[in-house]
Amino acid sequence: MNKYTINLLNYFYLFTVAFIVLLPLLWAISTSLMLPIDSFTLPPKWIPTDFVWENYYRTLFGYYLDKAGLGTFGDSVNVPFIHMLFNSFFVSLSITFGQIFICSFSGYAFARFKFPFKNILFWLVMASLMIPIQVVIIPLYVLISKLGMHDTLIGLIIPAIPSAFGAFLMRQYYLKIPSEFEEAAVIDGASQWQVFWKVYFPLGTPGMVVLGILCFNAHWNEFLRPLIFLNTEEKWTIPLGLVALKGEFATGSISLILAGIVLSLIPAIIIYIFGQKYIVEGILTGSIKG
């Protein structure tokens, strides 16, 4: 095979995979804009030709209009989508800010302080990375219930804040910042607390952005914990509500479900446009052995 053929085959391979990734997304968007009766029409339409924006309206507000006895949305959408949006934002943002704080403090200490048991504690934190949440989900549920946090958003938020991965990530960032800043600040009379809070904490911003994006995205998409911890539908997060919606009409008006899915992708698309390089950086930093 000459270079030209290899190059051509390479492009063919790359494009094929790209299509396999793109087609389901295109289909979802296009179908979310079709009349619900047409949503299983074959051959499928990849490019939207109908623009039934009403689907989006029904997915977002159907539940509320129905409850208020307004409109004929009847059996269309039985999940409180606005609640779900709010809950997902509230949970993801709270965990993200919590992690940024806790992980900045601990990451800084692991990177720059000498203190008793440091190595043991660091090893302990790293070992916890090996333990999948799924495996401890039963005791975690029991704990949350005993603390009276079952069926609350707080019960979803608090256990997710102490993140071993986040601490490791922040440590890697603080290791990269030169120690000369500390010396300069100490000569100017800064206390150790001020050295951290006024100098290093702000310098850790790039790491926080990476951690924040990864964390927000992970919890925006989270499914198992909300499924187990939350009962009341007003407390559901988006993936939970969408799966429930799908369960209600497996082959029915799927364009409404797809409208919900497309709506749920908006934060991902925003992160994708503005934060792609941070995620790549985060994954690569996380994979470097400490």
């Binding site: 190059n7 200490a109 203190f115 071993a164 187990i228 988006i238 994708y272 994954i283």
Partner: protein, 297 residues
Amino acid sequence: MLNIQSQKRTKSRLGLIFVSPLVIGILIFVGGPVIFSFILSFFYWDILSPMKWAGLENYIWFLEDEVAHEVIYNSIIFALIAIVAQNILGFTLALGITKIASHNMKIFFRSIYFFPLLMSGATVSIVMSFLFNTDMGVINYYLSTFLDFNIGWMNSTNIVLYTTIIVYVWKHFGFTFILYVGAFATMSKDVLDASEIDGASGLKKIIYIYIPLASPTIFFSSVVGFISAIQVFDEPYVLTRGGPGDASRTAVIYIYELAFGELDLGYGSVIAVVIFILIMIVTAIQFIVQKKWVHYE
């Protein structure tokens, strides 16, 4: 001098204060639950009435329970195929984009491969469940050009597990892809140039240069890939709820059903302990074997 001493003391105190929220949190929400999982596996408990000592009964039932064997088997097959597929895709695609000249095309492909990573496994699976529908799905519609029967992607016991793997790999391969892009970007130019001069080409270069140089990444993504794939839940649960029969039921689906459906928390914990031990064993093996084939520069 005194100043330096007191600085050191402050640092050591602040250090402990700074890490304590994290460490205490991890002890409460990870460490404690791990220990409690082990304890719980020796009890009968339905969360409502008091715990009752079961001795080894739960474990004995595990040895007899055929569903448990099937879900563990499913999870292992799932994890093995998924990590092999992810690594092959990640490796070849990353290699592919390093070989193309146009910078814009590189970014184009990279951005596309990356996107599913940002989606939720649950919502991806909803979309895929429509596409893989036997009678009305888009995939069988196009396959009907070549086949005169419909493939039961989600209702054939022989196929359904592979369907869930396809969906899982579709969603996750971007992760390994990024790891390999990172690995190839940091590979020493000297080695690659030298191999060029030596006239090594094509397949030989991949086997003797790229794979050894990327071996730390292959190792890392296999360890991480195994830990996350063995505990898969979202994709098979949303696609089929583990069915038909138990054909796509994974260990974590079974844990979920036992503990939160049947309220058999003790036996559910046995499955969790088994998966936990499995992860430990496989990771330990990977770490031992890596010495033979992973080359750190």
